[in-house]
Symmetry: C2
C-alpha cells in the first residue's frame, strides 16, 4: 500500500503549500490528515446528515476560508474520508496466495467498513482512482492477487468491479431494518414471498444480511473462480 | 402484479380521503398517482438535487400545505417514485419457467431502471416492503419463480437479496465516469492494476459496466443455480 504515501499530483497536498515557519503553533496547521481526522470525528458524533463544511471548520477551530484553502468542496472531504477508510480494508491475504480466502477476507472487511459509512457509497462508486491513492493501492493488491491466481488479464477488472458492486449493495443491506420484508396486510396476496421470509426467520441463527452476503459471495467465488487458468 | 392495486392499509391512499364531489376541477385533486407523476416530471427536469417539496408543490400548482396532507416528507415521495419505477422491472419470464433466463431479464431490467435513478438506491435498499406494494408484488413474482425452480425455501430470500445487492451496486457503476480507473501519475506504482485496465480498454467492444455486470450475473447464476433441487 505504498502508493498512498507517494501521491505527488494533488494540488491540495502538503507539497503544494509553503512549509510552515518554525515557532508557529502546530494546532493551526491544516493538512489532509488533520482534515480527515476531524471529518471522521464529526461524522462519528453527528452522522453524515450533520456533516457540513461550516461544522468541519468549527471542529478544526479555523475559519471556513482556511478550510477552503485545502479542499474545494464537501465532496473533496468525503473523498479524503473514503480513501482513509479504504486503508482498513484487508488485502493482506492476496499476497499469501489462496485466492478464495483472500477474496473472502477482502470482501467481508470491505463490506464491514462501508456498512458503517453508507453515505460514502455513492461517492466511492463513481470516484476516479487517481484522486484516491489508498483506494488505488487496494486495487493494485487485489489485481496482483487475481493475476497470480491465474485470471485472464482482460477479466481482472470486470471481476473486481462485479465483486465490488455486490459489496456496495450488501453494505446497504447491513443497515436495513429487521422488518424490511414484513409484508404486513398484503401477506395474503404474496404467499410465496411471505412463506419464504417466514421460513428464513425460523432458521434464525445468523443476521439475515450475513446469510445473504455469504450466499452471494460464495456463489461469485464459485462462478468467477472457474475463469482461472488450470 | 395485482398486489399493487389492492393496498388497503395506506392512510395516505385514496380510500382514506373523502371522494371529491362532482363538478370540482380535476386538476385540483391531489392523489398518490398525481404526486408520483409530478415528482417524476420534476426529477426529469431538474434531477434529484433540485427535487424539493416546495418545487414539487409548485409543479402540482398547490400550496405546500396541501401536499403535506398526502405525504409527510420528501422521503415519502421518493418511496412513491421508487415503487412506481419498480413496475417497469421485468418479472414476466418467471412465469414461463426458465429460471436462468428469468433472472437475467429481471436483473438487467432492474439495473437499467435504477441506474437512471441512483439517488433512490439508498431509499430502496432499506425500504420496508409493506410501504411499497409494487415492490412487494415484484418480490412475490420472483419468489414464486425461485420456488418453482426448485430452490430450498430457506435460501430464496437470501438469494434474492444477494442478487439485488449486486444489482444496486452495479446501477451505480453504470454512472461511473469513463476514466474511473485511470491511475494517472501513479501508474508506475500500480503495474498489475494499470495493465489490467489497459488490457480491458483494448478489448473495448462493450461498455465496461455491461461487461462487469454480465460477468458477475452469470457467476451468480452458476453459483446460486447449484442450490436448486435436481
Amino acid at each position: 500500500m505504498t502508493a498512498a504515501t507517494s501521491a505527488p499530483a494533488d494540488p491540495h497536498g502538503p507539497a503544494a503549500r509553503p512549509r510552515r515557519r518554525a515557532g508557529r503553533p502546530a494546532a493551526a496547521v491544516l493538512d489532509q490528515n488533520g482534515i480527515t481526522s476531524a471529518a471522521l470525528q464529526l461524522i462519528g458524533k453527528s452522522g453524515y446528515d450533520g456533516f457540513t463544511m461550516a461544522a468541519l471548520a468549527r471542529t478544526l477551530n479555523v475559519a471556513p476560508s482556511a478550510l477552503y484553502n485545502h479542499v474545494s468542496s464537501k465532496r473533496d472531504v468525503l473523498v479524503l474520508v473514503q480513501d482513509h477508510l479504504t486503508s482498513f480494508v484487508d488485502v493482506t491475504a492476496f499476497e499469501a496466495g489462496d485466492w478464495e480466502q483472500a477474496v473472502r477476507d477482502w470482501a467481508w472487511s470491505y463490506r464491514d467498513v462501508f456498512s458503517k459509512h453508507t453515505p460514502l457509497i455513492p461517492v466511492i462508486a463513481v470516484l476516479p482512482v487517481a484522486d484516491a491513492p489508498k483506494t488505488l493501492a487496494m486495487y493494485e493488491a487485489v489485481s496482483a492477487g487475481f493475476s497470480r491466481a491465474g485470471f485472464p488479464q482482460e477479466r481482472i477488472v470486470p471481476a473486481i468491479v462485479a465483486i465490488e458492486s455486490f459489496i456496495f449493495g450488501s453494505a446497504y443491506d447491513v443497515t436495513a431494518p429487521a422488518d424490511i420484508f414484513d409484508s404486513g396486510t398484503m401477506a395474503a396476496s404474496t404467499p410465496h414471498f411471505t412463506a419464504a421470509v417466514q421460513r428464513l426467520a425460523e432458521e434464525g441463527h445468523e443476521k439475515p444480511a450475513d446469510v445473504a452476503f455469504r450466499l452471494g459471495l460464495e456463489a461469485l467465488l464459485a462462478g468467477l473462480g472457474a475463469l482461472r487458468a488450470a
